[in-house]
């Protein structure tokens, strides 16, 4: 297990959510880039599901995921057995550190110096690039968006579209500064230049590291969803392929991927299907002419087994990482992905990250939502995200004696002043006579109402107390 403290590559203090949010909101470029992108993604999703019985399809997605989770330990063992039978080596990692170390050890055993990477959010969770770099192994992202983000020394701002926070101008400037590409507004030219640079890297990489979208237990198959072909390159060209995946990605049957794939691509980018759906069930066979000679799978826990303990929080693990929740989130759209300071931003990040980093570290995440419900409405596997946000808010203030908090770092947001305010509020509202007296007095003295209500009146006028409450008017009416 972990033998050293894992230093963050980016030194982001998750707790500093507010200043980052404020900066993002006052950054017109960020606002514009996200608004434009999210509007496009929402429109595309909607049209991709036209003609579908979407509720029934979402039920299927939810059931597929729940059926998998209900048998998770058995399925993982079945997956392991089947992968092993297929010639794929299986590794287990309790946390990110251990997962990093496994990848490094595989590289060291092969005397590998360079790693090419396909898109993998789990590897972002692990901060694998940073780790490998520290241990003298070059790790290069090959997904165009990830490549851009890596060149900019940033982290992805969206789980599907990592460089969505940047516009063409910014990317052109970045490619120019870092790779010498001519400045251009021509996206095709910029893309072609990246192709050229990365093809060399694919050819010479010692190891390819990818993520996994679905791992099928019955056949021992790793499924990868992508458009660019970098995932296929990563998993085919280098002599060794390492797939890193969260333990929750396993499904029992091959059939299951048909339902999940139908939901995933349409929810994510509004595509009926992506360009490539890559199903890997083994390393190169003796008579085959290409493909990696070694394939490894690293099954990463990193907090997932804790989430698995709780019947309500368990739903978090149904996630198939489509990003629809962030695409539809009015908060994400305003503040962008980096504001969250976490690997996974947006609604899914708000319910997932507290388990990975602790609710003390992530104390502001569950509150950064108006609970509008857009995320839950579009979630292809019906994760009740708003309900889980409320649950985590409860946990963050230890707010329910009947259901004691469980998440690591719970209670960190509780402060005695706010607790007192709610106690006072409860005292008054649980006693109708007292409530009527208080509200009646407020109405009577409505003209003395203060105009300054802090954060509220910074942007809005104060709501105006009525001269008589509804209670008073109804009482007058009945007498």
């Amino acid at each position: 297990m972990s033998d050293h403290a894992h230093a963050s590559a980016h030194h982001i203090d998750v707790k500093e959510f507010h200043p980052r949010a404020q900066a993002a909101i006052h950054n017109p470029k960020i606002r514009q880039n996200f608004r434009k992108a999210m509007d496009g993604l929402m429109t595309k999703r909607k049209s991709a599901f036209e003609g579908w019985d979407l509720e029934t399809l979402r039920d299927l997605g939810s059931n597929i995921r729940m059926r998998a989770l209900a048998n998770l330990p058995d399925l993982l063992e079945q997956l392991e057995a089947k992968l092993t039978e297929n010639g794929i080596k299986v590794h287990w990692a309790v946390d990110a550190d251990e997962a990093c170390k496994i990848v490094r050890d595989i590289c060291v055993a092969r005397d590998a110096k360079s790693v090419i990477k396909g898109k993998s959010m789990v590897s972002e969770e692990m901060e694998l690039n940073h780790y490998l770099q520290e241990h003298g192994i070059d790790a290069l992202e090959s997904d165009l968006g990830e490549y851009i983000v890596q060149l900019a020394e940033e982290t992805p701002s969206h789980i599907i579209m990592p460089a969505i926070h940047k516009n063409t101008d910014e990317i052109s400037q970045l490619l120019h500064d870092k790779t010498g590409t001519d400045l251009s507004h021509d996206v095709e030219y910029l893309t072609a230049s990246a192709r050229l640079q990365l093809r060399e890297k694919f050819r010479n990489a010692d190891v390819g590291v990818s993520g996994v979208n679905f791992a099928v237990a019955e056949t021992g198959t790793l499924c990868l969803v992508e458009n660019e072909g970098n995932g296929r390159m990563t998993t085919t060209v280098p002599p060794c392929h390492i797939a890193v995946t969260g333990i929750e990605k396993v499904v029992p049957n091959l059939e299951d991927v048909t339902g999940l794939l139908a939901l995933l691509t349409r929810s994510a980018t509004g595509q009926h299907i992506t360009t490539y759906f890559n199903m890997i069930s083994g390393p190169r066979k003796p008579d085959e002419l290409d493909g990696p000679e070694e394939v490894h799978v690293v099954l990463v826990d990193n907090g997932r087994s804790s989430i698995f303990q709780d019947d309500e929080l368990l739903d978090t693990l149904k996630c198939i990482r489509c990003g629809a929740c962030m695409n539809h989130c009015p908060v994400y759209t305003r503040v962008g992905g980096h504001t969250y300071g976490t690997t996974y931003p947006g609604p899914i990040g708000k319910i997932l990250m507290p388990h990975l980093i602790g609710l003390d570290e992530g104390r502001h995440l569950p509150s950064a939502s108006s609970l509008c419900g857009a995320c839950g409405e579009v979630c292809p596997v019906k994760i009740p995200i708003p309900d889980l946000l409320v649950r985590l808010r409860q946990e963050s203030v230890d707010g329910d004696k009947l259901h004691p908090a469980k998440v690591r770092g719970h209670g960190a947001k509780r402060n005695s002043l706010e607790a007192m305010v709610w106690k006072g509020w409860s005292f008054m509202h649980a006693k109708p006579g007292l409530y009527r007296m208080g509200t009646g007095m407020a109405a009577k003295f409505h003209k003395l109402q203060p105009g300054n209500l802090g954060a509220w009146t910074k942007y809005r006028t104060a709501p105006k107390l009525a001269p008589k409450t509804l209670h008073q008017r109804m009482k007058e009416r009945n007498t």
Partner: protein
């Protein structure tokens, strides 16, 4: 205790209630029984909408069509497979005709000619294991005869598809071909040329894989 056992034990000894596995009804994925013509129409419309090119041809004429398409693009070199029917037809034609581009056959391990493959081959031509009408998708099962990189590295990928092997949905294809009884080392669904929208949501083709996908449909 090993990490494996630690994880499995934590999962097995979970503190919550017993988890029930819900039934999964896949009938929502089912489509009407389309005729071959309907399936082909939908396949073509859908795959063309993502920038692929479809040419309807026949068993007799597809080589001719291929030559025409290659000539129009000024293709110099074409990669064919070693042991498939498609590869066989291509090498035969190449031997018989002088208007054919140079044909390379993928007959040695990638390590022996990787640079050549990456830098000199214009087109890879492969067979398919059928297609999917609903999503405009080709099914590819690379093999020792038809290795994985044929459909990935060359800038143009030509795929030969029999209209009679079109399925309505992915689900149907998988069931009818009984995939769960044995998967190849690598199976692929290909729906268009390689593309990205990572720069400001603007589509660009050929980012890592083929810039062009041409489907020859044999009716």
């Amino acid at each position: 205790m090993s990490s494996r056992d630690t994880i499995l034990q934590r999962l097995r000894n979970r503190s919550g209630g017993e988890l029930r596995a819900p039934a999964c009804d896949f009938s929502v994925l089912k489509r009407p029984d389309w005729s071959t013509a309907e399936k082909l129409g939908l396949f073509q419309k859908t795959i063309e909408s993502v920038h692929a090119e479809v040419h309807r041809t026949t068993e007799m004429d597809w080589i001719e069509k291929l030559i025409e398409l290659m000539a129009a693009r000024g293709v110099q070199s074409l990669l064919a497979s070693n042991g498939t029917e498609v590869g066989h037809r291509v090498t035969q034609a190449a031997a018989a005709r002088d208007d054919f581009p140079e044909v390379r056959v993928y007959d040695k391990a990638i390590e022996q000619w990787q640079e050549e493959l990456f830098s000199t081959v214009d087109v890879g031509i492969t067979s398919t294991r059928g297609g999917i009408a609903e999503t405009g998708t080709l099914i590819l099962w690379p093999s020792s005869d038809e290795p994985r990189l044929m459909s990935l590295v060359p800038p143009i990928h030509v795929a030969v598809l029999y209209a009679s092997e079109l399925y309505s949905t992915f689900h149907e294809a998988m069931q009818k071909q009984n995939w769960r009884n044995g998967m190849p080392t690598n199976a692929l669904l290909v729906s268009g040329p390689s593309k990205t929208a990572d720069i400001e949501q603007t589509l660009a083709y050929g980012v890592h894989g083929p810039k062009e996908l041409i489907v020859l449909v044999i009716e």
